[in-house]
């Protein structure tokens, strides 16, 4: 449709001025946007309180949709299960037999493990999660990959805490508000995670590629020892993640490493747990400028 005739300025000075003012205000808005954008790049945390407050307000809606999402997932799974029930039954029987054998083997390994541990006098405590919650949302229209949690500062969440599901690592807390927090997912292009191959100590970095795959970059360059299907777990380097949590499976090999698929896909997970930072002293040290003593930093962080 044509614009209303009242907006054609014609010879009317007043109408011409109002059109000009409109352009002026819009250009002014664009300039404000440019300034805010520059501020966001210069000080990424500057706008965090504003964003966090907004997320606190909508997080109840996120909780509701998260529970609905989990429910519908189960419904679809249930329907799909009817299609191949018979074949699945036979396959499962066979699998159970095998599993029983493996279980017996595992028991013996467990016993041996226990014996060796007592020999080393190694006390291994389970890490209690700070909070267990659902992912309430994500940045599903942006090229960046963030997810949001409905727990925040009042639940004891701090910046840098690793987030994991029952299957493996999901990401790391990036911003904390009063009752919500923002998580940097592993698939984000800014995410880098130190990993190692599960069966040996081939260390590498897992970097998000921006399209859902992780890029595995070997630290020791040379002959590429990786094979398709290799499982990578966290190495514990850097101090944020505890070692030995599953991260990704290798799908494609490149000269300097390969591309890997996530093991814990956030959209498929129901509950995630936020764990304390594995070695707070190490992460504090990594943030300390070289001119400062680490002990001071740790003390001030403790206070």
């Amino acid at each position: 449709m044509a614009p209303p005739s009242s907006r054609r300025s014609g010879f009317s000075k007043k109408a011409q001025y109002s059109v000009f003012t409109g352009y002026l205000f819009a250009a002014f808005g664009a300039l404000i946007g440019l300034a805010l954008l520059a501020l966001s790049f210069w000080q990424p945390r500057a706008m965090a309180p504003l964003r966090g407050g907004a997320h606190d307000i909508v997080s109840p809606a996120g909780e509701a949709t998260a529970s609905v999402r989990a429910g519908t997932g189960n419904v679809f799974d249930t329907i799909a299960a009817y299609w191949n029930a018979g074949a699945q039954n036979a396959a499962l029987r066979e699998e159970v037999e095998l599993a029983r054998i493996r279980l017996a083997e595992a028991k013996s390994v467990e016993a041996e493990n226990e014996r060796l541990k007592s020999l080393l006098a190694l006390a291994e405590g389970e890490i209690a999660p700070v909070a267990t919650t659902r992912l309430i949302g994500s940045s599903s229209t942006s090229s960046r990959r963030f997810a949001y949690l409905g727990v925040g500062r009042v639940d004891g969440i701090t910046i840098g805490m690793p987030v994991r599901s029952a299957r493996g690592v999901v990401g790391r807390v990036l911003e904390v508000a009063r009752g919500s927090s923002r998580v940097l997912l592993l698939t984000d292009s800014e995410s880098v995670l130190p990993v190692r191959r599960a069966q040996d100590n081939t260390v590498a970095f897992a970097e998000g590629r921006g399209d859902g795959l992780l890029r595995i970059r070997l630290i020791n360059l040379g002959l590429n020892p990786l094979k398709q299907g290799d499982v990578f777990v966290t190495s514990g380097a850097g101090g944020y993640y505890r070692p030995g949590v599953a991260v990704a499976i290798l799908t494609e090999i490149t000269p300097d490493g390969g591309y890997a698929r996530l093991i814990a896909e956030p959209s498929a997970t129901d509950f995630v747990s936020v764990e304390p930072i594995y070695e707070p002293a190490a992460t504090a040290a990594s943030r300390t400028p070289v001119t400062q003593r680490i002990a001071d930093q740790v003390e001030s962080a403790g206070n």
Partner: protein, 184 residues
């Protein structure tokens, strides 16, 4: 004297005279729908790639194209700021891009005052694709070919979604201007 039938001057809302629309509804519906559309993608979990088109921007563009003169020129800044709170983009990217959109659409409109649906679809599609690319550049991540390829499904969805959004906005516009009050 012959008289008109009682229903002759009525439409489905009732008598056609002495009726008035609600000013609150007439002015608030566009803003509320744009803000809801900005909020909606927040509630979906997309872990591997951008799964949804920028709904807030598409609805904003739809209102601007279908109802010229309804949104003031400066409205890109406040609505963009609201979108930035939930989009995951660095704060300010939508403020900038939505303000520029208002100026560009205004210029297009003075150049082509008479338009049809197909031209509107073309404008909106081009606008949405350029917006998605610009938002990717301003997202603060490392730009790579993989990241660019991941936005292609998003762009296709945005282009295909516009006709549906146009119908939705038309329906909302009817709701916005439906008559609520009998005068006198």
């Amino acid at each position: 004297m012959e008289r008109y039938a009682p229903g002759a001057r009525a439409d489905r809302y009732g008598s056609r005279i002495n009726r008035e629309q609600s000013p609150w509804r007439a002015l608030s519906v566009p803003y509320i729908t744009i803000m809801l559309a900005s909020l909606l993608p927040f509630l979906f979990v997309a872990d591997v790639m951008p799964a949804l088109p920028p709904l807030g921007f598409l609805v904003f563009l739809g209102w601007r194209i279908m109802r010229p003169g309804l949104l003031p020129m400066w409205v890109g800044a406040p609505l963009g700021a609201f979108d930035d709170l939930f989009s995951g983009q660095p704060f300010g990217s939508a403020v900038l891009l939505w303000s520029i959109t208002m100026i560009v659409i205004e210029l297009i409109e003075t150049r082509f005052p008479w338009r049809g649906f197909w031209q509107d679809w073309f404008t909106a599609s081009l606008g949405a694709c350029l917006y998605i690319i610009a938002a990717m550049v301003l997202s603060g991540g490392d730009l790579s070919l993989h990241m660019a390829l991941a936005t292609v499904p998003q762009m296709m969805l945005a282009v295909l979604l516009y006709p549906f959004l146009a119908r939705l906005i038309a329906a909302l516009d009817r709701f916005r201007l439906s008559r609520t009050r009998r005068v006198g």
